[in-house]
């Protein structure tokens, strides 16, 4: 075991994957020599050579297309999109090509691709460096969407994603690259060094791509979160004094319906959450599925904690970001209902 922050854990995953399988290649804008703007790919070019860890032209559609061609021809590309806000030029290649190639070729071609991308807000990034665009991708058949919330999971989920034969969009909550974040921007910066999930094995392991985790057990209400909001939800649960169970989803598609329904049937109340704008977000999918599967166990309407239906603001970031207070209010409101 070693102490790792999320950047080091992701870097370790890439290092292990490239060491283990010569068909794994890593590329992206500034992702070669420099090691990426967040340094996740640092050292890989020096260790594995220019043709296995390299820079790309600034063209996300071409990056995705290059990955598609390479993967169809037997490689296992891990492509970095520098910020998830920049992924949209690639969406045609991802939605119409990468995720459908196995289907439309009836299995003649497959796409073992991981697209990694720093994701989410909380870093004063303004509207072009703070987005949470996961719902655009969870809507796409044939695509796995993975969002870790800590160094241990980040490494295990990235290794599982690279070794998986389906395309994966792997969003990295950049607010937590260096430490967990409880949703209170004025508090002291926290470090992964003091967090149990900052203990990361140095060797190979995987975290399954279809399994959520109950990260706090409770009996009164289930809170479902992923990425940065897992920690916000945990701290809100502590502070509220409400006996909340918190689920870290980890994989959005396909999501772990079993863990969710078991918990909601136990607690009878549920809050779904996301950083992204409210309308048509992934939380809406969770709410719809939970009412289908757990309606007769529900004692209150499902609560929803989300960003607003606005672009992500710069100066008023903390009025947008669904922080502790919004979770606490939602917890109280769900407990008071009915």
């Amino acid at each position: 075991m070693a102490k790792m922050n999320m950047i080091q854990a992701l870097n370790s995953a890439l290092d292990i994957a490239m060491e283990k399988d010569p068909n794994v290649v890593s590329f992206g804008e500034d992702a070669g020599y420099f090691g990426g703007v967040f340094r996740v790919t640092a050292g890989l070019q020096a260790k594995y050579g220019l043709d296995r860890s390299f820079d790309t032209p600034i063209n996300e559609a071409a990056i995705a297309a290059m990955a598609i061609g390479m993967a169809a021809n037997g490689l296992r590309p891990v492509a970095e999109v520098q910020f998830s806000d920049y992924i949209f030029p690639a969406i045609d290649q991802i939605v119409n090509e990468m995720t459908r190639l196995r289907y439309r070729s009836a299995g003649q071609y497959t796409q073992p691709i991981v697209i990694r991308s720093p994701w989410g807000g909380g870093i004063r990034g303004g509207q072009t460096h703070s987005m949470s665009p996961e719902a655009f991708f969870t809507h796409v058949p044939g695509l796995r969407v993975v969002i870790p919330s800590n160094p241990y999971d980040a490494k295990g989920l990235l290794l599982a994603s690279i070794e998986n034969n389906d395309p994966v969009v792997f969003f990295e909550p950049k607010r937590m690259y260096n430490g967990p974040f409880d949703g209170k921007p004025d508090g002291a910066l926290q470090s992964w060094a003091n967090h149990p999930k900052g203990e990361v094995p140095e060797g190979h392991y995987t975290v399954p791509l279809d399994t959520a985790e109950v990260v706090r057990e409770g009996n009164d209400v289930t809170v479902i979160a992923y990425g940065t909001l897992v920690h916000v939800a945990l701290s809100a649960a502590e502070k509220s004094g409400i006996d909340a169970e918190v689920i870290d989803l980890k994989t959005l598609t396909p999501y772990d319906i079993g863990t969710i329904t078991t918990s909601v049937k136990k607690t009878g109340r549920c809050i779904v959450s996301q950083e992204a704008p409210r309308t048509s977000g992934f939380a809406a999918e969770l709410a719809a599925q939970i009412q289908e599967d757990c309606f007769w166990s529900l004692e209150a309407p499902i609560g929803r904690v989300t960003g607003w239906d606005t672009p992500y603001p710069h100066a008023h970031e903390w009025s947008y970001f669904p922080g502790q207070d919004r979770f606490i209010n939602a917890l109280k409101s769900v407990m008071e209902a009915a």
Partner: protein
């Protein structure tokens, strides 16, 4: 009717229905004029080839000049056969579509040389990322016609399980990538494939084709940027058949002198080729393949041609262009030109040509009967209904399993 002069330029074709088309303004260089550089030429030194035109067959159907690939007559006859088969197949499939046997069809009439000569100049082990109008490649590579038809009528033997629109073939065994209906996406993908081939130490070359209209897509720029940057062993081909459905190529070319010139900005070796000249297409592709295979980098080729029929079964070209255009097209018909060349060589005659057409027509008719014995889109049998839930992921997840149960299959 709008009578005001447009306030900005919106390109329109020179001729509309009812006009008498006249292509005498086109500057078509004489056959044999273009110089053939070594395959290691610096891409930037191909400007004359990008502005001119590689042509081998002259107006007397003789092969002339440095680009004459000097192909043996039996290979020429094979090329003729593939082109005639492509045309006969297209005609038959169009008729069957009109009879309601399939949902959609796209012919390649007038462009058969681009696909067939290109494929024959490549090795069968080379990878191709075609657009939807290169069915000639499949004939040149010997794909089973019944299999092609089974795909087009989406029956139980369709190798794509009825998931793709007709003519959107995939044939991995023949190194023929999955055709996309989203234009141009295959262009940068082909570069990625070519890079992977180099990565694995293979001497395979990769070729991709798009149309003139698709050069306006961002993926065109992405493909040429990637190919140039990483010096990929890839041949990027633009079939300038003058039309994108109803839209004339002048909507994509802007003020560029030729589509081939667009490659020069990337420093890629760029050629403009008479796309209706079997020998010129063959020679250009052979040159480009040797260049790529020897590690001298990518090539980019414009084929100057004319789409002699509709875009697809969903449009009627008489609504947007004169019916007589194809007849007066100055570069003629690729099959007629190769046929006349072979006749000039004393290696072919009209009787043999007629016999060939009859033989291939009979083959297509017979093949369709066999294809239909495996089912049709309307009457089945099709691929089993549960197969719609397969191949989404490697293994279906709980959502797909539940949804399959919801459908009751």
């Amino acid at each position: 009717m709008a009578t005001q002069e447009p306030r900005y330029r919106v390109p329109v074709p020179q001729f509309r229905p009812g006009d008498e088309p006249d292509f005498s303004h086109l500057n078509i260089p004489a056959a044999g004029e273009a110089k053939r550089p070594g395959v290691d030429v610096d891409g930037r030194d191909t400007i004359e080839l990008a502005l001119g035109m590689v042509r081998v067959l002259d107006h007397n159907h003789q092969a002339v000049g440095e680009w004459n690939p000097e192909i043996r007559p039996d290979v020429l006859r094979e090329g003729l056969r593939h082109m005639v088969l492509t045309r006969v197949y297209d005609e038959r499939m169009l008729k069957l579509q009109r009879q309601g046997k399939m949902s959609f069809y796209m012919k390649s009439t007038g462009e058969e040389a681009v696909a067939v000569a290109g494929a024959m100049a490549l090795k069968n082990s080379d990878m191709v990322f075609p657009s939807y109008r290169q069915q000639g490649i499949l004939f040149a590579r010997g794909r089973d016609i019944v299999d092609m038809m089974c795909h087009c009528i989406s029956n139980s033997r369709d190798n794509l399980k009825g998931r793709q629109l007709p003519v959107h073939y995939t044939w991995a065994e023949g190194n023929f990538f999955s055709i996309s209906g989203n234009l141009g996406t295959q262009f940068p993908q082909a570069v990625g494939w070519a890079m992977a081939a180099r990565y694995k130490g293979e001497d395979q070359v990769t070729a991709s084709w798009i149309g003139d209209g698709t050069t306006a897509e961002g993926d065109f720029h992405g493909a040429l940027t990637l190919a140039s940057t990483y010096r990929a062993p890839v041949i990027l081909n633009v079939v300038n058949n003058q039309f994108a459905i109803s839209t004339h190529q002048n909507m994509a070319i802007g003020d560029a002198p030729t589509f081939a010139m667009k490659g020069l900005g990337y420093g890629i070796a760029s050629l403009r080729v008479d796309g209706n000249d079997f020998l010129a297409v063959y020679a250009a592709m052979q040159w480009a393949a040797e260049r790529a295979r020897k590690g001298h980098g990518p090539a980019y080729i414009e084929y100057f041609s004319y789409r002699a029929d509709a875009h697809s079964t969903s449009d009627d070209p008489s609504g947007y262009r004169p019916k007589t255009e194809a007849k007066v097209w100055p570069l003629g018909d690729p099959i007629e030109r190769l046929k006349n060349h072979l006749i000039g060589l004393g290696e072919w005659d009209d009787e043999r040509h007629e016999a060939l057409e009859k033989e291939l027509n009979d083959l297509v008719v017979k093949s369709y009967k066999e294809a239909e014995s495996h089912g049709t889109l309307h009457d089945g049998p099709l691929s089993p209904v549960p197969s719609i839930f397969e191949d989404v992921f490697e293994e279906p997840d709980w959502r797909l399993i539940r949804q399959r149960q919801d459908l009751g299959v």
